[in-house]
């Protein structure tokens, strides 16, 4: 199972980076979203994989590590704020420059 998750993190990272390196703003935003998934899963993996032991006192005899979970929870919400900010930036840039190239130039 660990290998599977490691592979998924790898796939998400690769897809994210390829898309971030593209020239159009929407692809970059999509890439950032993928990178966020990868990073969140990676951080979550710092607590190792545990099945059926949620960190709720009394729910099980042993618990998954709650700390990475707390960190990732806020990371997901902040990640949403970042995605929103970047996509608005992309819209603004398209409205003002007339195209959606990340360098503000190129073919409209």
């Amino acid at each position: 199972m660990e290998a599977l998750l490691a592979l998924l993190i790898g796939v998400l990272t690769a897809c994210g980076i390829y898309l971030v390196l593209r020239a159009r703003s929407f692809s970059v935003v999509l890439g950032l979203t993928f990178l966020s998934y990868a990073v969140n899963l990676f951080l979550f993996a710092m607590g190792r994989l545990v099945i059926a032991r949620p960190p709720v006192i009394g729910a099980a005899d042993a618990y998954a590590d709650p700390l990475p979970q707390a960190l990732v929870l806020t990371a997901i919400v902040i990640g949403f704020a970042m995605t929103a900010f970047v996509i608005m930036l992309a819209l603004k840039s398209r409205a003002e420059l007339g195209n959606d190239h990340v360098d503000g130039g190129g073919v409209p």
């Binding site: 998924l8 998400l12 980076i17 545990v50 819209l91």
Partner: protein
Amino acid sequence: MSILLAILVPFIGAPFVAYVSRRSRAASAWTAAGVALLSLGILLPDLAAPFAGETTLQRLVWMPALGLDLVFRLDGLGLLFALMILGIGLLVILYAHYYLSQQDSLGRLYAYLLLFMGSMLGVVLSENLIQLLIFWELTSLSSFLLIGYWRTRHAARSGARMALAITGAGGLALLGGFILLGEITGSYELSVVLASGDIIRAHPLYLPALILILLGAFTKSAQFPFHFWLPNAMAAPTPVSAYLHSATMVKAGVFLLARLFPALSGTEAWTWLVGGTGIATLLVGAVFALFKHDLKGLLAYSTISHLGLITALFGIGTPLAAVAGVFHIINHAIFKAGLFMAAGIIDHETGTRDMRRINGLRHQLPHTALLATVAAAAMAGVPLFNGFLSKEMFFAEAMDASTRLNFGWLLPTAVTIAGIFAVAYSLRFIHDVFFNDAAPTDMPKTPHEPPRWMKVPVEILVVLCLLVGILPALTVEPILAAAAGAVLQAPLPEHNLAIWHGFSPALIMSLIALVGGVLLYSVRKPLFAFHDHIESKLNARAMFERVLALLYQLARAVTARLDTGSLQRQAWLFVAAALCLGTAGMWSSAAPLAGPRTLLPVDGVSLIAALALAAAAIGATILHRQRITALILAGAVGLVVSLIFVKFSAPDLALTQLSVEVVTVVLLLLALYFLPQQGPSEPGRSRHLRDASLAVTAGAGAAALAWAVLTRPYDSISGWFLANSLPGGGGKNVVNVILVDFRGFDTFGEITVLALAALGIFAMLEGLRLPAPLSDAAGRHWDSDMHPLIMATFARLLLPLAVLVSIFILLRGHNLPGGGFIAGLITAVALIMQYLANGAVWTHARLPAHTHPLIAAGLAIALATGLASWAFGHSFLASAFGHFALPLAGEIELASAMAFDLGVYLVVVGATLLILINLGLAHNASHAPLKHGGEC
């Protein structure tokens, strides 16, 4: 905390003085003087202790866990400097009132002067070295303002910049030196550092620490070869020069030598570095001073020379030499401040400072001539004036040290030569200006004696020169003993402040200097010609400017190379650089990739989900130009990610991921409406190949790293959280307790970021006119049936249910999966659904137009919860909880953290809605007939 207060008073007074000066110049002078007097008055009760050899320490505990306290120290040395800073500061304030013309802002000068005064007081009264350094840097900054006071003049600006560059660089070195000193002794407090001289000197880091500290001291005190900033700082108004270059700024460097004398001195390295630099500076300054035709230039180089003398005394390193060093600090401050003020009077009255144009001034300014002559005689070291005493001590120490050195005779020779030049330039200052009647004059103004009160400061200083010079034991002895005792941190050596010591070698050196100086001055004409010839080739300022220009050029070239203004280029360079670092880290590690942890078996459902995720992610990447398809695939990825959280015991994360996914997809769909639905193909096969290989390598690296972590056992601090969640935080859901209690301050920061992002987006969308397309990518017009009836009806029915669920999630969050973040997102989704199903216009009429108040209320509640625990004497955001019985609902538990969670909930709802609604409204506006737009 009287010392802290005395330091703060000038800082507080500075803006006040500047404000008062708008009304009246006299009032601002009085206020500035009042501030300095107040500071002196606050120190007054503490002044007696240092004379008895006691050190007053005052401590303000700040961060005890880190050993960071504000600590102040008043001992003899600090007392001497504080008195010089405040006393001469008062005289300068009085003098400046008459010196500055009506056009110049007196308030600004006084404000800068007070800032500088406070910074200097901080330097000399600090016990903690880091704290001392902060004030040290403040003196650099405030002196920059003072030197550049006439900001319209090029010379002032470049002089100020040069002083800041040199002393600022020295400050950086000093920081390094202090940190090393702190590492060696284990403390940044002077009491400890001064008592561990033996440990410091024996430590292998002694030499680097010494060199770094000396760099700081030497740049500040304008020691050769860093001396050249001081003559260029003469572009400052003369009162500033009188203050900075007699008693304060340049004395900070020698103050540091004196302060750290017990900790650092007494080694060969100290003697050679400090003594050698001092002697070199003494000679260079003395020789150049004679050849300056500018009055202030002469004084600047003579200051450099005298600072060299003081440095050399500390370098010699005997207790008696240190006493002489402290004594010369006092004497130099007195006569040099007087001389600068006299030079200012001459400049003020004649309109020029060029000694070739001013001659025979004693006829017009007899009184000033007398004052200047006394001060210059002190500078030359003529008997009966204060400079003579310390200079003779210096000569005696040089003779004494020469017996202990190889080529020892060089030392008295160099010192005597410097003495000869000192006499010659002092003679020039008097003769060339006030006498020399035969030479022609060319003064822009007809000079008169200056206003009465402008001469008072000079008179006070000149009287002090005489008093100290004639009656040293009655006047200066007590404070000298107090200061020198603080420098040595040991009983004072036998010293005798008398004018007559019999026919000692030192007296003979003094006589040689006097006679030689007169002779040298009499043959000055051919020497001047020679100097003028070579001066053009030896211009330190031009060299400095060239080095600076070169540095700027280099910086520009490097920046231009790296930053071409292309995000795409920056992005791949960044990824490539990160890959290189990561690969290097992986290669250099000898450990095996996989660890010994027992792994979980793979089950079929997980495998299928993983395959689905991989397929969706890769599909979205390949099809990224079909943007809607790619977005739907990305949504699928997000769903599988939340399933992963479900599988691996993270219900809170799963709920959060799920609701964020919904919001994100809706947001991106809305945004996509304004963007081309189909991306153009990108040219360059090699670029795709490069990016693909970068991406695959990075993916492999991330996978390897994750694998390495996942297969290793580990120790976590989570045990503490799990154990304390219920007894300490009153909640069973540990993740939520961490968020709202243990790490509540982090969460508070995070919701603030969320609020800022939302407001930023709001600001960006304000007034933005987005070109909306009339049809989709395939050329089909948008469907006019915007709000299907069934969906609209169900959405309205669902709203109260969804809100109920979200409140339930919020309330149970402390004990079961849920909480403010998740509940906020669910509420936001429910409300957004109304917009989707019923249209923005319908919904907008029924919901508040702006959600800003919601965000503000959320932040305020979160903050108030945190502050409330302060009011109960707990730390910020500490949680309190209790069990209460409610009718019908039974016993429930309430924790103050739930109020905090309510704040989180409100911020999340407000921010999410603010973002989506505003984009949705822009969307709605775009349905209006378009003036321009159309799709490319």
